[in-house]
Symmetry: C2
Subunit: 240 residues, 2 copies
Amino acid sequence: MPHHKLIARLLAVGPVSERDRDALRNMRYSVRNLADAEYAVRVGDRPSSCTIVLAGFLSRQRVVSDRMQISSFYLAGDMPDLPSLHLPVMDHDLCSVGPSTIALVKHSDVRAMLQESTGLLNAFWRETLIQGAVYREWVDNLGARQALPRVAHLICEIATRLEFVGLVEQNSFNCPLTQEDVANACGLSIVHVNRTIQELRRRGLIDWRGRTLELLQRQEFEEVAEFDAAYLHGLDRPHE
Amino acid sequence: MPHHKLIARLLAVGPVSERDRDALRNMRYSVRNLADAEYAVRVGDRPSSCTIVLAGFLSRQRVVSDRMQISSFYLAGDMPDLPSLHLPVMDHDLCSVGPSTIALVKHSDVRAMLQESTGLLNAFWRETLIQGAVYREWVDNLGARQALPRVAHLICEIATRLEFVGLVEQNSFNCPLTQEDVANACGLSIVHVNRTIQELRRRGLIDWRGRTLELLQRQEFEEVAEFDAAYLHGLDRPHE
DNA sequence: CGGGGTTTTGACAGTTTTCAACAGAGGTGG
DNA sequence: CCACCTCTGTTGAAAACTGTCAAAACCCCG
C-alpha cells in the first residue's frame, strides 16, 4: 500500500480532494525491497518509474571532491525521483540507508494521473516546492552552523518529518543512519561527528543507541539546533 | 518587458508553446527598481505578487547562527518567490545585490494563467524542479568542497546561468557581488574569500575588477571548480 | 565463535576564523 | 576641486574548529 504513506505525506502539507486520493489509491505499482547500501537509482540513469519510499530511508548522494556527499534523506511517503518526470537524467544516486522498501509507479501512469487532475498536479508541485525549502535549509545548515548545531539540526528535521507520517512515538524513532551517514550529510568527518554526538549525549539531549534514537528534552535540543519546523510547511505543527 | 527574460529563461530549460508564450507576453505587471541592499520581500511576508527579476541580482538570505547566509542568487528571468504561490509565508529575505529591477505579477493573475494552461503549469513546475537541483548543488558545494573550488563553483554557476539569458560576452559579465556576498553564499569568512579570490587571480583563472568579472581559461577554471553544467538542465549547453 | 562494519580514542596537521589595522575606491558636500 | 566619509578590499598573526591518521574497542550478524 504505497498510497497510505504517500497520502499521509501529501495531506500533511496541503489539501488533497477525496477524488484525488482515490486516484492515488488506484495507482498501479510494484514493490521492491532494498538491502542496506543498495541503489534504487544511479547517476546517469533515465528512470521510467517514480519511486515512493514505503519504509526505511533513502539517501540522495554523489561523489564530490573525493568524498561522498549526501544532499537529502527521503522517508516514508517521499518521492525522491519526482524530478525525473521532467528532468530525465539522474544527477545523484538514490541509495538505501539500512534496509528499505519502495514502490515504483510508471512515469506513464503518473503522467496520465496528473493529466486527469490539476489538483494532483498542484499537489505534486507544492511537494516539489517544499523539497526545495528543505534543500535550502540544508544550505543554511551547512553554510552557517558549527558542527554541534548542524548535526542537531539534521536530527530535528528527520524527527519532525517522521512525525508527519506517524513514525515517532514518545520522541523516539527508528534511525538507520550510521555516524558515517551523518558525516556525509553534514559535510563533516566521521571522527568529528562522533565527538559531536558524544557531546549531544553528554548534554543529555539525545539517547542514540543502535538503530533507536530518542530525543530527551526536545525543547532544549531544538534550541541547540536552532530548529524551527516552519520550513517543512506541515499543516499541523506536531510539537506546539 | 518582463516576458522577454522570463520567456528566454523558460525556453532555455524546456519547450513552451507559442500560445503559452503569448499568455506570458500579455501578463499584467508593474516594475520596481531596487537600490543596492534594498529588500524585495522579507521573512514573514505573505506576498500577493510574484517577483520576476528583470535586471541585476537578488539574493535569498536569512540570518542563521549569527551570520547572514545566502542560499541562492536570482538573475534575470528568475522567479525567486514562485514558492509563495503555494507556501504563503516567506522563510527568507529577498534582497537586491547592487541596484536591480524586478517585475511584479499578481498571484491572482498567475493563478488564472496557470488554470488556463497546464502547459505553463508544467513549465513552472519544471522550473521549480531545476531550482531544487540548484539548491542541491549548493549543498554539495558547501558540504564537500574546500574554499578554492567552492568559490570557483559559485562563479561558474552564475556565469552559466547568465549565459542562458544572454548576459555574457566573451566570457565576461557584470557581477554586482561583493566579496562579502561571496562569503555569505559560500559559508566562508570575508577574509578567507579575499585570499581565495586572490589565489584564483594568481593562477590566471579570473579577472575580477570592480563590477566586471572575466573568466580567463574557462576550461581550466571549470576543472578547478569541478563544475559540470548538467544540473542546470539547460537545453543548449552553451560551452560544448 | 569469528569477522566485518561501526564506534571510539589520541595526537597531530590543516584549513578556516577572528581580530585588528590599513589601503583603496567611490560618492557627497562644502 | 578637494576634503571627507563610507564601503570594499587587503594584510598579518594568533586562535579555533575540523580533518587526518592510526589503532583499539565494540557490536551485531551469520
